[in-house]
Symmetry: D2
Subunit: 272 residues, 4 copies
Amino acid sequence: MTSHPDGGSVACTLDYTVDSPTEFVFQIAVTTGGAVHADERLTVTVDDAEAEAETIPASHHGGRQHLVRATPGALRVRYTATVRRDAAPPRRVSAPARVQALRPSRYCPSDRMAGFAARRFGGTDAEIVRDVTEFVRGHLRYAPVSDSSTDAADTLLAGAGVCRDYAHLVTALVRASGVPARVAAVYAPGLAPMDFHLVSEVAVDGVWRIVDATGLAPRASMIRIATGRDAADVAFSTLLTGGRLTMTRMEVLAVADGDLPGDDPGEPVSLR
Amino acid sequence: MTSHPDGGSVACTLDYTVDSPTEFVFQIAVTTGGAVHADERLTVTVDDAEAEAETIPASHHGGRQHLVRATPGALRVRYTATVRRDAAPPRRVSAPARVQALRPSRYCPSDRMAGFAARRFGGTDAEIVRDVTEFVRGHLRYAPVSDSSTDAADTLLAGAGVCRDYAHLVTALVRASGVPARVAAVYAPGLAPMDFHLVSEVAVDGVWRIVDATGLAPRASMIRIATGRDAADVAFSTLLTGGRLTMTRMEVLAVADGDLPGDDPGEPVSLR
Amino acid sequence: MTSHPDGGSVACTLDYTVDSPTEFVFQIAVTTGGAVHADERLTVTVDDAEAEAETIPASHHGGRQHLVRATPGALRVRYTATVRRDAAPPRRVSAPARVQALRPSRYCPSDRMAGFAARRFGGTDAEIVRDVTEFVRGHLRYAPVSDSSTDAADTLLAGAGVCRDYAHLVTALVRASGVPARVAAVYAPGLAPMDFHLVSEVAVDGVWRIVDATGLAPRASMIRIATGRDAADVAFSTLLTGGRLTMTRMEVLAVADGDLPGDDPGEPVSLR
Amino acid sequence: MTSHPDGGSVACTLDYTVDSPTEFVFQIAVTTGGAVHADERLTVTVDDAEAEAETIPASHHGGRQHLVRATPGALRVRYTATVRRDAAPPRRVSAPARVQALRPSRYCPSDRMAGFAARRFGGTDAEIVRDVTEFVRGHLRYAPVSDSSTDAADTLLAGAGVCRDYAHLVTALVRASGVPARVAAVYAPGLAPMDFHLVSEVAVDGVWRIVDATGLAPRASMIRIATGRDAADVAFSTLLTGGRLTMTRMEVLAVADGDLPGDDPGEPVSLR
């Protein structure tokens, strides 16, 4: 399971019209460190004048957030990075990360779904992950029926959702079955239409594996932005203080070096 | 599907210690009329003095409720009936009953479960009913994990429940699939331990059929007390006005005339 | 509290493009009987050819529904009525209606809100109704934040809603406080923009009183269409069987005879 | 707001009968570092033979967890500590801690309660905290009506709860009002009956302040065990892998050095 060196290029542009002073946190920079290197550039401007972005650690598992204090005007946040990943064995699951990935969270209330999971899924950790993934792929229809308050239990009842909902339902059911699970926000080369993407990350045999029940992009080419318990932790943009504003444009780009790999859902894939 | 004449004997005793004036509604008398005749007796006493019980129509589909105004003391409600049922074809589903049995209700929020149902169940009405029943029988573990606020969506997540929860989950999923469904509170000869019982009633081919995913008692011998959208309509006892009281004893008895019949879950059974 | 004779004129037109055979139930005709008389006309056409509408009783408290089987084409449902109401004392609250109006329902889960209500509201029934109404008027902001699955507990948390949500929150809190409460769908002269309207109906001193925390139209001029536990019972249109269709137009009209009366929220108003 | 040196003694004993191999995480050790020093001792035994406890960092904000792998038998976990705290200014709120304390969590779904909060609370951060605290103190009745799946929205509806529910409701409403809020599990000298205690911690004027709407113990004497978004993060005991077991005894002790201080709810208190 040692991977080959690979890489890619990513970019995102976010435009807002800001009507009153507003504090944002952005999570759009790739998670670097270990085997992952990025040649990157972040610019924040208000009415074309450069504004400051304070880099702060993400709440979980490495990763960075950028805190921006925007004055009224046309805010533009632009991030570009060229990413290179060395060949490396997958990272081991640490004890605190394992403990945290077993706790219920806002959008993955695994405690409420333990009964459902116990009646449907069992066996080894790998079997549970495989069966949950197949269940979610078969049960959900890809459709924009959810909103920002939809949790995994809602999605199970709705039988439909988008990538966020697929990731939450997989994460919640795997976690409810006693296997550590969390989410990763990623740039996903091959995704169409291109957007930020959310996938699950599950602990099997001591390493983190990526699960994406949508099957919309090859896992091996994904580039990690942020890691967390659910979408509450990894939102690409969070308003810290009120403020009136409108998003006017959002553009995401992700390209893999070389050809896009295939993706066999039965094959474990870990993300450096 | 015309049934043979049959019958049975039922009884129930409810004892309460009432500390302040209290108004109750009891639904413990069998639903009579049409092919169902009862030789019955209801007595209500407070400290052994007879108290009044006002008979009022049940909110749905025939049936009776008894309104009792209890003064402080030892309240005893005792009902006994010998029931005889003539051979008769099952009652047709009326248009208003059909409309009502398609609407979401407190414990059967079928609107919230329409997506789940659509992804799992389909085909003819009879196939939907069969598949929902098998799903609920397989999915639930019989265990007292619910309380009076548990609805069918909670039960789906919990993977466990008692007869009330089985009936609610069947009713909600059938209704969510577009087939009219409601509940019936019944005396159930053969049930062990003996208690009030709740089952589903679904409209297939123009007649009401009984579904009991618990399989705990033969449907043909059940004797209908009350009919409603869910347990909110058919509770055996409801407090109308506050009042301090304790239930000290509850005893239910139901015996079929002759031997208990077998029950083939694949065979449709209608309750007169 | 005996009212003066009054009346009004109402109309509604509903247009649909129906792509496959569809069964509807409409609740748009006014509730007549007792002191209320209507000179009315309902026409249902598909591509201008007359279609049949079967009148069936509404599930609650009088009122009528119309069952329509539509073939593909342009469906138009048009209802007009001239309504005359005799002076009459308000109708007494019957025992079964009282019992039913105390039970929790899909959108008014009063059982879940009993604790909240007990901590906020108390006193006589009239005081509870007054205080709940003032609380809801002050707590909610009129805004279209809800959807068809929103219940009264959701609305309490959201702090906003439309007439349906105001009616559900008043109904749920009054009912949770032990006072019988239900909803009435009405034509509401004076409402702007004109639409179907939903209000609460509460039992105080043995009669039903109208409560409308939105204050958007005078209660005395409202003309009752349907009565029920919550919006699930009184929807103006319900699809009974799937079918593909689009609503293309909806027009509601309601005019009072003579000048619109004022409305003093402190004054009890009963609807015949 | 610089505090005086103080300290205390704490102890807890947890006994379990373990029937099959089980992995636990305990969070019972006090959070040390900075101005807080502990002379402590943790012993874990199975049938009186010493078992291993692996110390791992807590998921948030310092603090430690202990991972225990228990073989079948009588498991006893015993922790004692003498704690000394130097006089020190309260710790500043770091940017990542602030961001995290604004995100919704499992038991404090602040996103769902933003509307309710916006209609009730406003002004400066300090005013919001004061008003939320008073609201929660007045709205809740101290009663064991909740279970492990109860969240802050449930508690608002229920109008009752225990310390966990008070802390969740304060935290959720403060956070929903845009002020960072989290929870702290503490040893609480003066609490009766003695138990683990949960309180809120809110960010006002750049420092963390303790809020305890129960008023059951003086805040200044509390000794921090763990910090997190809600009870999911700070449970004193978590089962990582299934296993059959029974808790047979739980004893918590907390004594302040010197006399217990008074506690003026209007006075800000920070916990080192």
